[in-house]
Subunit: 582 residues, 2 copies
């Protein structure tokens, strides 16, 4: 037996016990006549002591031969520490070692195994198995485990069945970003890896399973963006005989339960706002509502005052920075420069200082007198000491620019507390998206998303105004989940395909298989999928999903630890009847 | 809201309640003036009643328009049934329908949605979403869900952490059966799908996670055998600082818990036998021990009696069929014919009847007198009324032939009760396997499997006799799981590579990556992996794993429901810089 206890569990009450422990050498303090070794395993750290008076010379020498990250087994007696360490649970005791076995030596690690390591991202990824020994990463993986366990428990307790759907599926014409997998046995044929189990979960509803979930790997061979992974994990769910509120209530329950059980945080009813409101108030469909700074539309108080930039703008809109009048001119200029950078793309910004004396000072004093400025300030509900920032221009663009500015301000002003959580539902997304280039509608969610029940007739007369029976869960400015009620009625589905510009033949080719299944009694159904990687990261107080994946890939889709993807042999390609055409 | 209750929950105590139910039309009995409809959902069946006296004419007519598998919603009152049905939990009540909404109609299904369907395997697979509506398949999927939930609970409660390992990994030279995945972004490079997370779980032990598990999809592009799937699911586990007994105790605990919680069956300590014993007593390394019929070696009582076939045989070995003396000559001949078929391959069989009068009658009476036969019978411990079947020949072949005969007899005699479960551990497998063709050793498990602790020195002097620190879990004649203690010592690993005939360069190329990780303090570790599909099938009382997979592939690796694998477009191939070379 390698151990009687782990390195995190011995306490004062164990004093006098003979114990065997195994673990890694974390730290050695060698005073010559006395040696302390911090011994680490997943569960904690125990201090070992060797000293001239109580330890044999051989054993002392053996202890001196230890190095960082050596794997050792010790046998000894639990004794009370002379100087206690209140920072660790085992800090009252130490182990007077009587036997020491070196189970394995270790080369010096390429970076320190400490909370704040000296290893850079690249090095940490290459030696991920050492990175995971570090407390912060280990904690993240344990958090991920706890969350998935709790998700499964909650959903199971609520009659959901976890069903594994296949990983080797079929590439579809619209699946341009499918990973494909050549089949050796079915010569010339290919499987595809699922971008999501969408089709299968809808089939499981047709199959009568009623409530389905799965924590499942999905795959997308996408052009790469920061913090995207070619393989990612979803909590995928679907329910039959439900309307939107049934779905929202069920999954609000799930998320509330996770916060309660994992983070010990009670979250009240999630606010629900429409897509339109979100865009109008926050300039984004995934607003971070941990802080206010809501948009105020100012056309009525800003236009027709001889200031052409505002007068010609479709929208004039501002936000109030509480206490922002303390910003120096230099600080304000920095924001102006920032919003003019290509990634934000605003033309300029107007600001208005609300002085402590009740007066106003703006960058457009030439066009607006104190009464005008007071009007604006009153409209925004700004107080003395506040700063108002105003953008103008094309409605869509200016909202997204102001949304970006709002987040930048929040970041700089520390308004985004990573230990605070503000979930909300965004609902009533547009059903269709007009593609200027292709001159046709696209489904904003997917072609099986149902219109809002009372808007089905609008599909024929005014498709662009139809709202979808679709919803997103947003937490702290991140889209954590999204879903919809599906179309289960054949004539609505046909109308939808018509709007999307599919001929009967095209819709048959692309979706015939699922449509065929729907002929045999498809129940009304709907669902949602959550991005597990992101959810765990948010709960872990971070926005870097890589730190919550055991073996992540980098921004180029590469696993630098195992050096993948990589070349394969000609023989392998030949067996698959493939040739490279580089 | 689509329902106030599901179709399985209404009882006598609900009589008088107004309820709304949704579900499928299972069956319609139309007496003209009265119509009963069985309405089904996942949770059960509720009987609806429409009758002339209490139902409006319109509603009655609407009820008459229903067809099998229509999706309906009804509103009505729970009433007591005139003639109760004790076979279903809702059999005391029925619902007098007041409103009926047809949510969806259904085309007539290609087979009946009944426990014993008229649909053949092929048709059921093609319309799997209808097949799953059938109670037996639905039950199997729910059983699978319950087992995976319980596995996760047990392991989590025992400090295991579930960690997701990557699905897009790297092809290895020995990975001839890897599925490969071309990367679009990393031109000319390929990922591979994992045959198992073996490397990653060992890395997690190096990473200090101590106890890991994962319920995980694995992939093998294998030549096809009956009941094999190209994608299959494993319960994959690994532990650090363990010896063989620690692993066996832990997972005996898991399996015992599953039987207890899922099947309500108490299973005592699992027997443990060595590989050698299994082969000698049952002719297989995965013995079905639900019944006896153990082998008895008969060389000493059968040889040197002038019967050349026995005298020239390396092994003469028999089994006793209790009560087998009732077999007719014809029946015995059928077994003789059967064992001579090419898939069994025996040359012939000798039999010995133990008559009720204490005398014996054998097929070799010419060579053996009554005393000789009595000797044989006593050695086998056969009683009056039994039949002894004896095979002879080359040791390895004859054992496997008699093992097959033993199972065939058990099948025909009904000795394999699918509701009885007999798990056992098979241990001490040979470490190495001599490959006659390639004239070298192969690792029987894998190259990181440790020899038994006391046999490490034998690696140098007598590698073929070294036993591995490896173990299999066998239930009812099926290998359910297997694993080993891994080598964590560098010099033992080098010795192992030497035995396998790897040069330093070759072992570096093939395993350098893992070996490199081992340099940084690898703990002693070991693990096991269970085949989930098989485990669930066994617990479900079946040996057909396909019935326990939601969307299985057929024996040609094809999903006939979605018609996959399939051709992909030239554009897709071009983007991947690949050409077909058929």
């Amino acid at each position: 037996m390698y151990r009687t206890h782990n390195c995190g569990e011995l306490r004062k009450s164990d004093i006098g016990k003979q114990v065997t422990l195994s673990g890694w050498v974390q730290k050695i303090r060698d005073k010559g006549f006395m040696i302390w070794v911090d011994m680490r395993d997943r569960y904690g750290i125990s201090q070992l002591i060797f000293d001239e008076q109580r330890t044999s010379k051989d054993l002392l020498n053996q202890a001196k031969s230890l190095g960082r990250e050596f794997v050792i087994q010790i046998h000894g007696e639990v004794i009370e520490r002379a100087s206690k360490n209140q920072n660790i649970p085992t800090g009252d005791i130490e182990i007077l070692v009587k036997e020491l076995t070196i189970l394995n030596s270790s080369t010096t690690p390429p970076f320190t195994i400490e909370d704040n390591t000296d290893g850079g991202e690249e090095l940490r990824m290459k030696y991920r198995y050492l990175d995971i020994r570090r407390e912060p990463i280990k904690k993240n993986l344990i958090l991920r485990h706890e969350i998935t366990q709790q998700v499964r428990k909650y959903l199971s307790d609520n009659s959901f069945i976890e069903v594994e759907t296949p990983c080797l599926i079929k590439s579809t014409p619209e699946g341009a970003r499918d990973f494909i997998v050549p089949s050796r046995i079915n010569e010339g044929d290919f499987y595809a890896l699922p971008q999501s189990p969408q089709t299968f979960k809808q089939l499981l509803m047709v199959a009568g399973l009623d409530k389905y979930f799965q924590i499942v790997k999905c795959f997308r061979d996408e052009d790469l963006r920061a913090d995207r992974q070619p393989e990612f994990t979803q909590i995928d769910c679907e329910m039959a005989f439900v309307e939107q509120d049934d779905v929202l209530n069920t999954f609000e329950g799930l998320i509330t339960d996770i916060f309660k059980k994992i983070k010990k945080i009670d979250i009240n009813k999630f606010p629900k706002i429409t897509y339109e409101q979100a865009i109008e108030i926050y300039g984004t469909d995934k607003p971070d509502i941990r802080f206010g700074m809501e948009f105020v539309e100012l056309n009525d108080v800003c236009q027709h005052k001889d200031f052409n930039m505002f007068n010609s703008a479709e929208l004039v809109v501002g936000i109030v920075v509480n206490g922002g009048n303390t910003f120096t001119r230099k600080e304000i200029d920095k924001y102006i420069d920032w919003i003019k950078t290509p990634q934000v793309g605003a033309m300029g910004m107007v600001y208005l200082r609300c002085n402590d004396d009740g007066g106003f000072k703006s960058s457009v004093d030439k066009f607006y007198d104190q009464a005008d400025l007071k009007n604006i300030a009153e409209k925004t509900k700004a107080n003395k000491g506040d700063l108002i920032m105003i953008l103008s221009g094309d409605k869509n663009k200016v909202r997204s620019q102001l949304g970006a500015l709002r987040l930048e301000l929040a970041k700089n002003l520390g308004l985004r507390n990573s230990e605070e959580f503000a979930p909300l539902w965004v609902v009533d997304f547009p059903l269709l998206n007009w593609d200027e280039e292709e001159n046709k509608f696209h489904a904003m969610h997917h072609p099986f998303t149902s219109p809002k029940p009372d808007q089905i007739d609008l599909l024929k007369t005014s498709p662009s105004s139809v709202k979808a029976n679709a919803y997103d869960l947003v937490i702290n400015g991140n889209e954590i989940g999204g879903g919809s009620i599906r179309i289960h009625n054949k004539s609505v589905q046909e109308q939808m395909f018509k709007c999307l510009g599919f001929t009967k033949k095209e819709s048959e080719e692309q979706f015939g298989f699922l449509m065929n299944a729907f002929k045999y009694g498809s129940p009304p159904h709907g669902g949602i999928a959550f991005g597990l990687d992101r959810l765990v990261a948010i709960l872990g107080g971070s926005e870097t999903i890589r730190d919550f994946i055991a073996f992540p890939k980098n921004n180029a889709g590469r696993d630098v630890m195992i050096d993948s993807p990589s070349k394969i042999s000609k023989e392998q390609l030949k067996e698959l009847k493939l040739k490279q055409d580089l």
